[in-house]
Amino acid sequence: MSPALSDSQIAERAQSRRNRILWVFSILFFVWQGSFFGGHVTPHSPLRTVEIVMLGSHLLLAVVLLVLLNTGGGWRYGKAVRALLDDDSTRAHRAQALASGFWGLALCALGLYAAAPFVRIDAEEAAHVLLSVAVAVPALRFVMLERRANRG
């Protein structure tokens, strides 16, 4: 029988798992939005069922990633482990990651604004691009900071 893990050990493992989930799902999220543009055959027609499902899943994943990033995760653990998962350095990394997300979003909005006179961009396409940047940039930046902090 293995000895019971302490809260710190549980938090350490949950932290690694959170980083892996954020990393993999952020990449998946970003790649997925590319397929949305590629798969949208007739842009101004009503959405097909497959497109509604794709869009719904994409939005759900966006919400999950944002909630995971902003709460620190570990919802199935007790208060003590959740507090460790959201300790001082984690909060500092989150603040830095959200600041990066803000700048990514601002630059992306500027790019869309500059491209608007030359390329027709629908509101839903612009929202899609902006949401993707708003979710993926802070999530990836957060993982990067957390991984760097874990190195000895």
């Binding site: 710190s8 507090a83 350095s89 902090a149 874990n150």
Partner: protein, 69 residues
């Protein structure tokens, strides 16, 4: 304006107390990662965390953290 660097003697104080990063982390209620970032000067701890670290290591905050001359 850049952040003022903060020097620290946390690693030496921790080693002198015979504690690992994980031990100290457990004593002050943070993860090992936070202790690691403080020791490496990557993360400037809050006043509360600095006080907790000082208490855990039986030292003063000034002995653990210093501003550069």
């Amino acid at each position: 304006m850049g952040e003022t660097p903060l020097l620290n003697t946390l690693r030496a104080a921790r080693a002198a107390a015979g504690l690992t990063q994980a031990d100290l982390a457990e004593k002050v209620g943070v993860t090992r990662k936070t202790i690691n970032t403080v020791e490496n000067g990557v993360f400037v701890p809050s006043t509360v965390l600095a006080l907790k670290l000082a208490r855990a290591l039986d030292a003063t905050v000034e002995a653990l953290f210093q501003l550069p001359e």
